[in-house]
């Protein structure tokens, strides 16, 4: 717990954390100081002047809150006429050269200029002279489109490329009211985190080419989720909407703050994985290429299991702990080999030292905790030995690999329970569609051993069943997330005390030491 100190805001005593600036310290107790340029991940710049606050008996009496550390006994004034007038004046000056094209601006609805205008300004424009003209619709690369006229020159995007990615593609050129954010000629944005500038931009100056004009933000439902693009488990917002007569569709992911995992940002690749939740989905169950009902498909699987001499069940490194546990238990029930082999999810050398990991699966740590063997040799031996392969959403051929397995699999009966169409579903005699991670909930453990839980966000019109539900229909004992936990708690020591409902928002760091693993 950080040291606390007491100060006064508008005469009322509040207790805040020390070592923070006034915006963060006072913001933590629910009092917002308006600001545009300050961002906790990028530090204080002090250029927007929106956060000017009065300090009673202060020297100077007027300070930018972003640059001012909270001090014991400080008397901060936010509601004096003087401060309110300053906020109104700054807003007026921010807006005189702003195009106010909110009706066609993607930021409308989540724009700081709009919010602050409503909160602090609300006056009619006094601008009776021509506005400054700047460039619009500039393609900055990496899917970022810039509008210089909407820009408030807060410099967050510039500081992001300098301080976070270290690539420095952006700069503010020119002086005075002709100052503008730009790239160097012929040197567009070129980093794997560039789209964060869209999230960072407090106004509609930085927009995503992918998201532009697709959806008004107030129509979208914004649910919390966890990116399954790699083993980092970055926290995201899943922004989705079911338009009239249509299905629930995801329009974008945005970074969600979590100091323990990803800070304030996510990578572009992960951000774009939302498309995979909408597209290439397996929607119909089929047996031998003929469309069947869910019950018929389940029946066909049951039959195959009865007929099989040596079945093998494949667990996905993307599935939740609960799903993995349910499949493992089902395998035990049917005397099947259980494998988590999933080397195809790993893109060697693709990761970096920031957020991107080589492993493109979200819960490989789960397989380790539950002691599901993911070894290639073990898998190949079991595969040679078996006559039935049932994959529980494990995409054996992800990233165009494992081609040598195809002839081997061709000789086996393959059942693909899958959220997406892929090369394995092409091989399957029985295919059965299941929900993907934006549609179910559960717990996953990231590469660093942080246990996080998430809830379903998207509800499709014809909602596919969860892997857990499939295992139940096949006769497994674990039929939902809750039923999975007693078994996992007794088997996995590090999970012994975990209450899935009580996992903190930022996740739970599991002790991943050797002795912490399953005994036997």
């Amino acid at each position: 717990m950080a040291d606390m100190l007491k100060l006064f805001v508008n005469g009322e005593e509040v207790e805040v954390e020390s070592g923070k600036n006034l915006i963060d310290a006072i913001g933590a107790v629910g009092i917002e100081i308006p600001h545009l340029c300050y961002h906790p991940a990028l530090g204080a710049d002090g250029n927007c002047r929106m956060c000017l606050v009065g300090i009673e008996d202060g020297r100077p009496p007027l300070v930018p809150a972003c640059k001012t550390p909270a001090m014991e006994g400080m008397r901060v004034q936010l509601d004096t006429e003087k401060i309110k007038k300053i906020q109104r004046d700054i807003m007026e000056l921010e807006l005189i050269n702003h195009p106010v094209d909110c009706p066609i601006c993607d930021q409308a609805g989540e724009c700081k200029l709009q919010d602050y205008y409503m909160e602090h300004d609300l006056q009619e424009s006094r601008m009776r002279v021509p506005q400054v003209k700047k460039s619009k619709n500039l393609d900055f690369g990496c899917g970022v489109v810039h509008d210089q006229e909407r820009c408030v020159l807060c410099g967050r995007c510039v500081r992001f490329t300098r301080q976070i990615t270290g690539t420095g593609e952006l700069g503010i050129v020119n002086r005075t009211d002709t100052a503008r954010v730009n790239i160097f000629p012929g040197r567009p944005l070129d980093n794997r985190y560039a789209l964060n500038v869209v999230d960072l931009c407090p106004v509609g100056a930085m927009t995503s080419k992918d998201f532009r004009f697709k959806q008004r933000v107030w129509f979208m439902q914004k649910d919390e989720g966890i990116c399954h693009g790699c083993a980092k488990g970055c926290n995201i917002y899943i922004d989705h909407n079911r338009e009239k007569y249509k299905d629930d569709v995801i329009y974008r992911y945005r970074a969600r703050h979590n100091d323990l995992v990803n800070g304030y940002f996510i990578c572009d690749e992960g951000r774009m994985t939302y498309k995979n939740e909408n597209d290439n989905r397996l929607t119909e169950a089929a047996v031998n290429g003929l469309q069947v009902s869910l019950a018929e498909a389940v029946h066909a699987i049951q039959q195959a299991l009865t007929e099989a001499a040596k079945p093998m069940m494949l667990v996905s490194p993307n599935s939740t702990l609960e799903q993995q546990w349910a499949v493992k238990r089902l395998a035990t029930l049917f005397g099947a080999t259980c494998s988590g082999y999933s080397d195809a999810y790993i893109r060697e050398g693709d990761g970096d030292d920031y957020l991107i990991r080589d492993d493109k699966s979200a819960n490989r740590k789960g397989l380790e905790l539950l002691e599901v063997d993911s070894d290639k040799a073990g898998f190949e031996a079991a595969l040679a030995d078996c006559d039935l392969v049932i994959s529980f959403d494990n995409d054996l051929f992800r990233f165009e690999s494992n081609d040598e397995l195809k002839p081997v699999l061709a000789a086996k009966k393959v059942i693909a329970i899958s959220s997406h169409t892929n090369q394995l579903t092409d091989l399957g005699t029985v295919v059965l569609p299941v929900a993907s991670y934006s549609e179910y909930g559960g717990c996953i453990v990231n590469e660093d051993g942080i246990l996080q839980s998430f809830s379903p966000a998207v509800r499709k019109n014809e909602a596919p069943v969860d892997v857990l539900e499939v295992t139940r229909m096949l006769g497994g004992a674990v039929g939902d997330s809750v039923q999975a936990w007693p078994g996992m708690r007794t088997t996995v020591p590090v999970l012994a005390d975990v209450q899935p409902d009580l996992i903190p928002a930022e996740g739970l760091q599991l002790s991943m030491s050797e002795e912490g693993h399953v005994s036997a």
Binding site: G46, N47, R128, R175, T176, A179
Partner: protein
């Protein structure tokens, strides 16, 4: 030479080739070094404090006190940055020192370095001073060759290296922290203070920034003592100052005068009075950013920091501009705003957006399209912008503009197309 004038800083200005080391030495350059190195650095600072020497860049902060702000034993180097950006309109004093007596400046640098324990000096010279920079650099080269700069200054175990850094044409780089940013190779934008440069300046190290004239005043103080210097001027505004008198006077030029003289006496006796027998309209006392004085106010003001403050203006840079009765104040204000708008670094919202707005409103007035409400708006904008920014550039524009609006409002109203209307249009605030 008028009897009011003195020759302290300008002693060698009229000597031919005084910018050359040989000539300068014949006239006493570097003669204070022996005394300097016999003194403890702290005593040098004390002597400068006693002299009452104030910063000649415009703010008038006591030089010795500024040096005293340097933290002790930081383990970091201390830097000296000599501000030679002289960009304030109507200011032309430092250029005389740079060209006519650069060795006085170098000697002053040595004195300052010894006092504050500095070994690395940057002279930030405005980019437009192309011939001045050549003379200065030649003088520095000569000083190096003669052993006044370099590893062993005047044979002492004390190193001083001087680097001349040329600006690239930005007025704002005369602001001390923008100047530091510029030296560091960054865009010249002022830094938020605190931290102040004395604590965290150039490359994050303790830094003293002094104006050329401030540093150039040190050899005289060193040679003749603090009392000899403070014998000139007033009690609080001691010493002499190089005044650049321009505008509508008979004899414009650079004059060295002790502080505290009556402005009108100087204008009439030294500068020959308002030209062409015209009447005085007003006086800009110390560079374009200082609020204007009306002819009436000019009668009672003295050329010192205190008297200027009492008259609601500032001493500034000593750049006095005389305005005769023919001056169109609105055109003058348009020119003034044009300059400060052009030179705004664009960092802070109020200055970046506001000055352009003010310029357009003024132009609208000049075009005969303006209204009484525009004049009120212009006046209000001065208040809304001023002191809401990181640096004082916005105030350098709004302070004088406000003074013209308040003191010569009728001239603005004469441009308003609705001036006949009795009640000025008022923009009502709409509130929910």
């Amino acid at each position: 030479m008028h009897e009011m004038e003195v020759k302290i800083l300008s002693e060698k200005f009229d000597i031919e080739n005084a910018h050359l080391l040989e000539v300068a030495k014949d006239h006493g350059a570097y003669s204070t070094l022996e005394k300097l190195f016999s003194m403890a650095p702290g005593d040098v600072t004390e002597e400068v404090k006693k002299s009452g020497l104030r910063g000649r860049g415009g703010a008038g902060f006591p030089a010795g006190v500024k040096w005293g702000f340097l933290p002790k034993d930081t383990g970091k180097p201390t830097y000296l940055a000599v501000n030679s950006d002289e960009s304030e309109p109507a200011t032309f004093k430092d250029r005389y020192i740079l060209v006519r007596d650069p060795h006085m400046l170098i000697e002053g640098i040595i004195i300052c370095c010894w006092a504050i324990g500095c070994h690395d000096v940057y002279i930030y010279i405005r980019g437009e001073y192309t011939s001045q920079v050549k003379v200065l650099q030649a003088a520095i080269d000569e000083a190096y060759a003669a052993g006044y700069l370099g590893e062993k200054v005047a044979g002492q175990d004390f190193r001083i290296d001087v680097t001349v850094h040329r600006g690239a044409g930005a007025y704002v780089c005369g602001e001390e922290t923008a100047l530091l940013e510029s030296i560091e190779g960054k865009k010249g934008q002022p830094r938020s203070k605190p931290p102040f440069p004395a604590v965290e300046g150039l490359y994050g190290c303790p830094t003293i920034i002094n104006n050329v004239q401030t540093i150039a005043s040190l050899p005289f103080i060193m040679k003749n003592g603090a009392q000899a210097y403070s014998a000139y001027g007033t009690e609080k505004s001691s010493g002499t100052h190089l005044f650049g008198i321009s505008g509508h006077v008979e004899k414009p030029g650079m004059y060295e005068l002790p502080l505290g003289l009556p402005l009108m006496d100087v204008l009439e006796q030294v500068a020959g009075g308002v030209w062409k027998g015209r009447k005085l309209k007003g006086v800009i006392p110390g560079g374009s950013s200082t609020p204007v004085l009306t002819a009436e106010e000019a009668k009672t003001v003295m050329l010192d920091y205190e008297s200027m403050a009492e008259h609601g203006t500032m001493f500034g840079s000593g750049g006095i501009v005389v305005l005769d009765e023919t001056v169109d104040v609105v055109k003058l204000v348009e020119n003034l705003i044009y300059f400060y708008h052009h030179e705004s670094c664009g960092q802070c919202t109020p200055c970046r957006e506001g000055l352009g707005w003010m310029k357009k409103i003024t132009r609208k007035l000049l075009a005969g399209e303006g209204t009484m409400a525009d004049i009120d708006l212009l006046r209000e904008l001065c208040d809304n912008i001023e002191m809401k920014t990181v640096c004082v550039l916005s105030a350098a524009c709004t302070m004088p503009v406000r003074s013209y609006l308040d003191k010569f409002r009728h001239e603005f109203e004469a441009y308003a197309k609705d001036r006949a209307n009795s009640a000025p249009e008022k923009v009502e605030l709409q509130r929910n």
